[in-house]
């Protein structure tokens, strides 16, 4: 009988058993990659349907935030700007911050808002939070255009370091995905996180070096400060976009390690609880 199931490739056998960790899980994720694309596409379509200003919304928020932060930190707080026009520096931090916060907000809510799918169709659930990165990426592209415009206005020229941007985008996405998976899985059971996440993001905009440069943090605190992965991401973005302060390598390594730690924790917890989502949600 086993022989026959090997002969025909459509005859793959699936075993359903309690606590059975399917060896084919990652293969399943791969075979459902188109669903990932379609869900992302759906979210992007819906985001811009029936909005008059459409993509302008993706620009307006970072633009206004940058304005407020510039007045707050530069004009009133007299924070240093590493020799770069202050608005450029703030926006260079705002761009990855928007990417991160958008991805976190979408990712953590994703399971709950797709509960109808979870209770009626099978597919690897990991697809859902991952697909929300699509919307965050599209919004990111809009803010990137805004950034280029502002850089042109202040005649700040990018260097070769801009080529590392895709890697930094990946870094930002991974930094958001780990906590997203963890919180999304928790939110299936504890809806409290619905209120916690927006609040954390609001706080995060001040805790992370969005409105100021992390070079103001005393040297012996830098490593500890970098335990927040977004510090590494934002420093990286600033370094790639306008230079100014040199990269703090030790801090960057710490940020990457913390990101990986959250990634592993997130995937582990998600996989662990995934099988009961349909019963709980």
């Amino acid at each position: 009988m086993m022989k026959e199931s090997r002969v025909s490739n459509t005859d793959q056998e699936t075993v359903i058993r309690v606590g059975h960790h399917e060896s084919g899980y990652w293969r399943d994720v791969w075979s459902y990659r188109e669903l990932l694309y379609f869900l992302a596409w759906r979210d992007i379509l819906i985001r811009y349907k029936q909005t008059v200003a459409g993509s302008a919304w993706a620009l307006l928020r970072p633009a206004l935030n940058t304005l407020v932060f510039t007045i707050l930190f530069s004009r009133l707080g007299k924070f240093p700007s590493d020799g770069v026009p202050y608005p450029v520096m703030v926006l260079a931090g705002m761009v990855p911050w928007q990417l991160f916060s958008g991805a976190i907000l979408g990712g953590t809510q994703s399971l709950v808002s797709n509960s109808n799918l979870i209770s009626k169709v099978y597919f690897p659930r990991l697809i859902i939070p991952c697909s929300t990165l699509g919307v965050a990426l599209v919004d990111f592209l809009f803010t990137l255009i805004l950034l280029l415009g502002v850089m042109l206005y202040y005649s700040v020229m990018p260097t070769w370091r801009l080529a590392t941007l895709p890697l930094l985008v990946l870094f930002a996405l991974l930094a958001s995905l780990g906590p997203s998976l963890l919180i999304a899985a928790l939110m299936v059971k504890f809806r409290d996180f619905k209120h916690v996440v927006p609040f954390m993001i609001q706080l995060g905009a001040y805790v992370c070096p969005v409105g100021f440069s992390s070079s103001i943090v005393p040297e012996n605190w830098r490593v500890l400060y970098s335990c927040n992965p977004m510090v590494g991401v934002i420093d990286g973005f600033r370094w790639a976009i306008h230079g100014g302060a040199p990269l703090h390598f030790q801090g960057l390594i710490i940020s990457i390690l913390i990101t990986l730690f959250f990634m592993v924790l997130g995937v582990w917890y998600f996989r662990k609880t995934e099988r009961s989502f349909a019963d709980v949600i």
Partner: protein, 416 residues
Amino acid sequence: MNSDTVISVEGLGKCYRIAHQGQERAKQSNTLSEQLQRAASAPVRWIRDRNQSTTSEDFWALRDVNFEVKRGEVLGIVGRNGAGKSTLLKVLSRITEPTQGEVRIRGKVASLLEVGTGFHPELSGRENIFLNGAILGMNRHDIRRRFDEIVEFAGVEKFLDTPVKHYSSGMYVRLAFAVAAHLQTEILIIDEVLAVGDMEFQKKCLGKMGEATKDGRTVLFVSHNMQAVSTLTTRCLLMEKGCCKKEGTPADIIAAYLDSSSSSGDGYLAEKGRTDAHVMSARVITSESGGTHVYGQKLRCVFEIWVPEALLNASISFQILDSLRQPIVHAWIFDSDIPLLRKPGVQKLECTLPSPRLYMDQYSISIYLADTRSKSLIETVEAVCPFQIVMHGMNREWAWEKNACKYLEQWSWSLE
């Protein structure tokens, strides 16, 4: 597992934990704070509850289910609400995990537990076809290849670029089913989705499913529509209280199911302690148990009337109402036919319909107690004694369809 078997289920069980009524708080502990509180008070509770019953109860939605499905078979799963049919399909579709046992499935499974899963109202018909197809496991090329077929099947050519929120409910359902009907998987799992849509479309869907089985696909099919079950399936399974109670040919299983379902068949009983003239009880005696009546068989209605004193010009009548509460049959008796209710106390009477020609549907009766001389209604009892009429055992070359008519006349044909 022998080479012909595509699904084998062994000792399958699924347990849900339900909080006890007395332990309301345990059930509600779905917010973090309550969960933390519970965690904090856990040692106290542990000491207190050691000698008490557990705080939650296990509910076995499925228990020790065993069966096998062979390639190309169409297996019907029947049973009353809450018998575990949907849970079984959810486990087989890998939506939820079993608590016990094992399922082995050979081949790709597509499950259709709901029509239009993942449809988004803001998206156009075209966009939803792609989205829904992807959700059901089709890839882009498959969808593109079958796109025209899907659109034609659903009959929504003109509205392809209209958001589906502007669709009529019929169009919506047609489009949703059309996508699912064009899935190309070896195994198809379908839960009660034929109950939607208009008659013509239902017929189309049944046809499509028949086609699917001719292609050698294996279908698992849950329905309350016995007509669909008997025409489509090759073998059936009767579920009861989470167990697989019986397995056999569609005819046997449907008969067993109709026998066991006692959702209808309850008689009418008046409140106790009434002192005015009233209908004390009413009962419709059907040909099968559980309020199921086979078309054309003798139907009896039994009434008990109570009067405090003699009623000289009484009349009793009743109507048989269809599922829309439309009266279809009217029957009566007057005091002038047979002297009625001439003594205080209980009068029992029975009306026999030798061969009612009512078509399959859910029926009930309304009873009227009246005084013919004063032309006054003494009591009206509306829509009681539900029962259903089935066309079981009556064969014709076309499936019996719901709502085709209310009444079948006797006829004779001749060719000239």
